[in-house]
């Protein structure tokens, strides 16, 4: 595939891996967090950890939009979906996330009209095609997806669509990273910064991480070569005693971000005073709600919501996994009570979730795997 294959080239990967190994100071361990779930997925899908020297550890961060949705919000969304005249629309990943009373898929089986869409614009199309129904879009995601939600609301307003609203659960990456930096069990050497989010917000908002917390951050692309290159850039900074925000993904991420996207968010949404994150608890100024000007498109105002807070299941350690304190397999219920078939925690739901990615691609004895792969390639 053109424009992609060059970022998956085995030869370049080996060369980068060799340079990474050279850059590691003997006896020192390096722990980097990839903030974004898309990176987690790439790392496991391509078997990237095989190419990294044992000194480099990657831990998975909070950047999986599905994983940070608290159970109470899922219940609220299902409450909306159960109204007889409602069509609920949602991204695919979201449909399996368990609330306190089941998931979208359970509600759909019980009769709710819940449809999977690829874009909020598809939800708007459904609204125009069904004028006698109320169509709600379950908006989730970081600054990556917030602009498309905002643009869709602007278009709905332009077109005078009155049966469309958004259940807004958009969250912001900076407060989440700050929560991790402030956490007492923080123990990271640097961050692989989110690529798509940065395409919207740019690189400047990360400045405080380098200035105030003295940790390097490299904004990275989503192909395996991008991630290896970013690891090398982080190691270079540490070796050279630098601590900066760098942009490995300049082919997509402008340093200043995308002003049009940001202004669309600014018009349609406002900052919430606080928002609950799955596993991380309430974080101040960490999420977006619909602004007063676009209240007519705000599902939270259009519908009466129960708004009941549901505590995370007791055994679930998603919070520690999201903060990178625990590796997925260190969670008490990982792979036994909590599996992709019957997820307890959200990290086990999306293929971008650290637990699901590890369960699907990484839970096996790597030495045994390499032996088998070696045998097979000789055969």
């Amino acid at each position: 595939m053109r424009f992609v294959d060059e970022f998956r080239d085995a030869g370049r990967a080996r060369a980068l891996a060799a340079r990474i190994a050279e850059r590691c100071r003997p006896g020192r361990q390096y722990t980097f967090m990839e903030v974004c779930g898309g990176h987690t997925h790439t790392i496991y899908k391509h078997g990237l950890e095989d190419l990294l020297p044992p000194e480099v550890n990657l831990v998975h961060g909070p950047g999986c939009p599905v994983c940070v949705i608290p159970m109470g919000r899922v219940d609220d969304a299902i409450h909306i979906a159960r109204q007889p005249d409602v069509i609920m629309t949602s991204f695919g990943d979201m449909t399996r996330v368990p609330g306190g009373t089941g998931s979208f898929l359970d509600a759909k089986a019980a009769g709710a009209d819940i449809r999977m869409v690829y874009s909020p614009l598809d939800a708007l199309t459904i609204a125009r095609a069904n004028p006698d129904r109320r169509v709600v879009f379950m908006a989730i995601g970081f600054e990556t997806t917030a602009p498309s939600t905002a643009m869709t609301v602007l278009r709905a307003a332009e077109q005078g669509v009155t049966n469309f609203s958004v259940f807004c659960n958009h969250v912001m990456i900076i407060p989440a990273i700050k929560a991790i930096l402030d956490s007492p069990d923080f123990r990271l050497d640097g961050f692989i910064g989110p690529g798509h989010v940065s395409a919207v917000i740019g690189c400047e908002p990360y400045g405080f991480i380098a200035r105030e917390y003295a940790k390097p951050l490299v904004v990275a692309g989503f192909e395996p070569i991008d991630i290896l290159a970013s690891v090398l850039m982080l190691l270079d900074q540490l070796a050279e005693d630098r601590c900066e925000v760098e942009n490995q993904y300049a082919r997509v991420v402008p340093w200043q971000g995308n002003r049009i996207a940001l202004s669309a968010i600014g018009r349609v949404m406002r900052l919430r005073p606080h928002f609950e994150w799955r596993g991380l608890g309430f974080i101040a100024h960490s999420a977006l709600a619909m602004s007063d000007e676009y209240a007519a498109f705000d599902a939270e105002r259009v519908f009466d919501l129960p708004g009941v807070r549901v505590a995370d299941p007791k055994p679930c350690q998603c919070g520690e996994v999201l903060k990178g304190v625990l590796k997925p397999w260190e969670c008490k219920v990982f792979g036994t009570a909590c599996t992709p078939e019957t997820p307890i925690g959200t990290c086990m739901v999306s293929s971008e979730g650290a637990c699901a990615a590890y369960y699907n691609f990484g839970r096996f004895d790597r030495e045994q795997m390499h032996r088998a792969a070696g045998e097979a390639s000789r055969a």
Binding site: R14, H41, G47, P340, A372, E375, A376
Partner: protein, 357 residues
């Protein structure tokens, strides 16, 4: 009196005329078992599938066994949309059952066809479906010898569902079993994977993606017969890679044989269009359905010979050795990625859901 007799004779002549379905849409009457049902059966189904075993339209067909070992299988088809580039539910329903029989090492012989139609389904669409079933049956050398039709109320089904069952005769001295797979065997796929699933996804038109991908639906009995004729004792097992794709059938094989299957990502044939669609939608081609491709596990020493046989057949031009069987870790499918890593290719949980970013 004479005039009355003339009228009665005319009525008889009209009654003896070939039955014609005059309605444009299927009604509940077509499933009620009365006149309309008979007209539908004779004018549509018998007309399309006509053969001596079906023609008596009895409660069942009488078969004379042609070999000591027989294979028997069944499959239901609910594809949406009913018509897609490269095929429709009709040829899918025939090829699907033909292929299941072929995977047992059998020569497919006779099929049954059960239809569940939704009230309001266009008769023209039904004719189009039966015509492609007839063409597929002829191509596969099978006859449709018995069938059934039910009509359900509007909204209780999605247009047309078809169930086909089939019998075939195992005429070659083969023992095919996933449990017989052993370390050192080679894993071969008969052509590029994921074409059918990708074609159907695009035909649903949910994504606004345009690409020239057609379903790979095809009868595999002939290419399988060639392979088994050349290597009757060296082919361990055959599986058509339908729902769940190549990854799913290989997991079943690894689990049944308590071996590890190791695939080489760069050896797996995938059309660039299919790779592109999967990349955009966040899917993995290894899990996307095929309807005219199969996986053969073959004694490693004869892998090249098997590949030559497959490539010599029009349906196997794109065949490739995609991996091999190792002893450990038992029950797992591993993928050596083009990038140089190794990962597990696990059984899919639920429906493949696209990732959001």
């Amino acid at each position: 009196m004479n005039r009355e007799r003339q009228v009665l004779a005319r009525i008889e002549r009209v009654r003896r005329r070939k039955p014609v379905v005059r309605e444009e849409l299927i009604t509940l009457a077509h499933g009620a078992g009365g006149k309309a049902t008979h007209t539908l059966i004779e004018a549509v189904f018998l007309e399309a599938f006509r053969n001596p075993l079906l023609e008596p339209l009895g409660d069942g067909a009488l078969l004379a066994p042609a070999a000591e070992r027989m294979a028997f299988t069944t499959d239901s088809f609910v594809v949406s949309p009913l018509f897609f580039p490269g095929g429709d539910i009709g040829d899918l329903a025939v090829n699907g059952t033909v292929n299941d029989l072929a995977m047992c090492g059998a020569r497919p012989a006779h099929l049954s066809a059960g239809f569940i139609l939704e009230e309001g389904f266009p008769v023209a669409d039904l004719r189009r479906i039966t015509a492609s079933m007839a063409a597929a049956a002829e191509a596969a050398g099978v006859t449709i010898v018995t069938g059934d039709t039910k009509v359900v109320q509007r909204g209780k089904a999605d247009g047309c569902y078809i169930t086909t069952s089939g019998v075939g005769y195992v005429e070659q001295p083969v023992t095919l079993s996933a449990a017989g797979v052993r370390p050192g065997d080679a894993v071969i796929v008969s052509g590029s994977i994921g074409d059918h699933g990708a074609a159907v996804m695009l035909a649903r038109d949910d994504y606004g993606i345009e690409a020239s991908v057609a379903s790979d639906t095809a009868p595999l009995h002939d290419i399988v017969a060639e392979l088994l004729k050349a290597l009757p004792e060296q082919v361990r097992t055959l599986r058509d890679a339908t729902r769940g794709g190549v990854a799913t059938v290989l997991n079943e094989v690894a689990s049944a044989s308590e071996t590890a299957i190791v695939l080489r990502e760069d050896a797996v044939p995938v059309r660039p269009e299919v790779t592109g669609i999967c990349e955009l939608l966040g899917l993995d081609p290894l899990y996307v359905a095929c309807e005219g491709r199969f996986v053969a596990v073959v004694d490693g020493a004869h892998a090249d010979q098997a590949l030559d046989v497959l490539r010599g057949h029009p349906l196997g031009a794109g065949a490739a050795i995609i991996g091999s069987v190792a002893a450990d870790p038992q029950g797992l499918v591993l993928l050596r990625t083009s990038f140089g890593g190794t990962r597990v290719v696990d059984v899919l949980v639920g429906d493949p859901l696209p990732r959001i970013c």
